[in-house]
Amino acid sequence: MQKVTSPHIHARRKTAIIMWIVVLSLLPAAFFGIYNFGLNSFFIILVSVLVAVITELVINKLKKERITIADGSAALTGLLLGLCMSPRVPMWIPAVGSFVAIAIAKHAFGGLGHNIFNPALVGRAFLIAAWPIIMNSWVAPVPFGSPAWLHSYDAVTSATPLGIEKIQGHAVLLDKYPMIHSSLFFGNTGGTIGEVSAFLLLIGGLFMIITEIIDWRIPLGYIGTVALGAFALGKDPLFYLLAGGLFLGAFFMATDYVTSPLTRNGRWIFAVCCGILTIVMRLFAGMPEGVMYSILIMNAFVPLIDRFIRPKRFGT
């Protein structure tokens, strides 16, 4: 007699489906980044994804475990890393970053589900620590289809809006971007390949919320806290909300299941703390951005949050 434990039916949504839906949700922002900054961005993303997948495959072979590249998690890590590169980095930069993300941040911690820190962000943090100049050189968007778009020369170096605001002040920023909010919303500014179009990131994020892939509490708590914090400190909340990597981070990185809390209340705490850290870093620390470090720092607190924030027992 068979002894199979119930239930005998299962939902169709499996790990691979979830991962590929996240990848799909990122594609509009990725294509916009290529449109905005040139063909070179496409190759950066390609190298980043390929190295991530190949690293995963090699490690699967070395560990003599099931090949996991089809589950989409390595490709997603590669894509996220590619999207937070400056459009003019040399190709070995995303390659090294993806290797670090998959080999060290993911597999050295035990593989899928066991890493404490978001692999893509660890890859990026490593690159910034090792090659800060390369990682912090920015360019302005180039006209689609122009020689500069095709061959990536003649690009005008230009700081990101957050960088201009921080170093040169708000007046210079408005001088350069008279319609700063709409420029940021539609992505017509300097920045990383994937972060510039707040609009398309929002579309992707909302798609993931509607399909119940991500918990809305994290982006809402995170973005809401940044907006409230900027407002409370007398800054332009809309600018701090749309500029930099906040949407990319809040919708696609802080929501990473593996590195965010298990409970809904825990996620609120996580998201609000990410927001507080981001606003503090942006306004009071030496660097213009703060999303990456905020999420990485909060990743470290996830085990603690999960230890103490638990659902109230039924019937009590």
Binding site: M1, Q2, K3, V4, T5, S6, P7, H8, I9, H10, A11, R13, K14, T15, I17, I18, D71, S73, G111, L112, G113, H114, D215, Y257, V258, S260, L262, T263, R264, R310, P311, K312, R313, F314, G315, T316
Partner: protein
């Protein structure tokens, strides 16, 4: 807003049998009646091999917690021996061979509660808890509501639906009997909104229509959804002032008290991979293969036969028999059974989101694997009633219910 937290929406598949009127199954040639098909202790036989028994004749009784067992057919006691089952464990069973017609021995006229006890009625929803015990309110507890469970949230099953549709008068009579025993004024029938049409038959009682969601029909979730009350941990519905009875049980009570019939038959939904899904009135102890044959046989290559529905049903064999708590026999063929391979947990927390008891199944699996059984206790593993919602949603195919069952066993030690 009524409802309970968590839960899932599996494909109901009720359409397979929902429109099939209740039919009386063929008289079985042989029945095998388990001496423990109730919570409590094994019943002791009061008949010997070779004895002639009538339908409804008492054949085994219990001393402690339990329920009487009656012969479900007229015939001769052929065998008394221990058998192996997945549902009730290894238990003795009495095999009776059909002989002659269908001669009934009815119950003696007594007080209703006495008659329910004599009739050997147990919870027909599947829990098989002795009903006469359930209806005895302990000293000091105050019960104000009788909640009739017509939720039938398990996919495929339609026996309660058909019963409510076809026998509303009998159910109302049963409700009046139970209200009298409990001395309560308030009664509510709780159903899901996929069977709204039964409400028409119940004019004199409040019918609460709940949004279809699994596991609505579990006692604690039903009380929460229908009455906004929570039963405290490790307590019974009494502690929330409620007694919950399945509609099938209410019908059995009516049959016992009004018709003097002991619990020897029940309605079983036979569905899934059979050629003609049906709702059959079946004698207790009828072999499953007899019933499947009456439903046109297997459709495709049978891979699993379940006592119950696909969410909480237990795998049985076609030689196993119908029990008092068998609300359904669900057949799954090889196309319906998924080959699933356990993958690493990605911490999506869906198991936590769907848990109606607000538990953290993911951690049960982790601590069970790590053999940290004291942690399981502090995470209230006892609250889990194994509805399987967590396992159903898990994208990594982790058999959470299996880990939980194992963990519970270890916690007891």
């Amino acid at each position: 807003m009524s409802g309970f937290r968590g839960g899932i929406h599996p494909d109901g598949k009720k359409e397979l049998a929902a429109n099939k009127e209740i039919q009386t199954a063929e008289m079985p040639k042989k029945v095998t009646i388990l001496l423990k098909q109730h919570a409590g202790c094994v019943a002791k036989p009061t008949v010997n091999i070779g004895d002639h028994v009538k339908t409804g004749q008492l054949i085994a009784t219990v001393d402690g917690l339990g329920a009487n067992i009656h012969s479900s057919i007229t015939g001769r006691v052929a065998e008394i021996k221990e058998i192996e089952t997945n549902v009730c464990g290894n238990v003795p069973a009495i095999t009776i061979e059909h002989h002659g017609g269908d001669e009934w021995q009815l119950l003696e006229e007594k007080q209703p509660l006495e008659m329910i006890k004599d009739a050997g009625i147990v919870g027909m929803g599947g829990a098989m808890f002795p009903t006469h015990v359930k209806l005895c309110i302990p000293e000091g507890k105050k019960v104000d509501t009788l909640l009739v469970n017509g939720a039938e949230c398990e996919p495929y099953l339609t026996c309660d639906y058909r019963l409510m549709l076809e026998k509303p008068k009998e159910i109302m009579e049963g409700i009046r009997i139970v209200k009298g025993i409990l001395g309560v004024k308030k009664t509510m029938i709780a159903i899901e909104d996929n069977k709204k049409d039964v409400a028409e038959g119940f004019k004199d009682v409040e019918v609460k229509i709940l949004k279809t969601k699994y596991p609505q029909g579990a006692e604690k979730t039903l009380i929460k959804a229908a009455l906004r009350r929570e039963v405290p941990p490790e307590r019974l519905p009494f502690d929330a002032g409620v007694v919950v009875c399945n509609v099938g049980t209410i019908y059995a009570i009516q049959q016992a008290v009004k018709e003097k019939k002991p619990s020897v038959e029940r309605i079983v939904t036979v569905s899934g991979a059979v050629n003609e899904p049906k709702n059959l009135l079946v004698r207790i102890g009828t072999p499953v293969k007899d019933i499947i044959r009456q439903c046109g046989g297997y459709k495709g290559k049978s891979a699993r036969i379940l006592n119950g529905g696909p969410m909480m049903g237990i795998c049985i064999d076609e030689d196993d028999v119908v029990l008092k708590g068998s609300s359904g026999i669900t057949v799954m063929n090889d196309k319906m059974v998924e080959e699933i391979e356990e993958q690493p947990c990605i911490r999506c927390a869906e198991c936590i989101n769907v848990c109606p008891m607000k538990l953290m199944p993911k951690l049960f699996a982790d601590y069970s694997r790590a053999k940290k059984y004291s942690e399981l206790k502090s995470l209230n593993i006892v609250d889990c009633f194994e509805c399987g919602a967590c396992t159903y949603v898990c994208p990594a195919n982790i058999p959470l219910v299996e880990y939980i069952k194992e963990g519970k066993k270890r916690c007891k030690k």
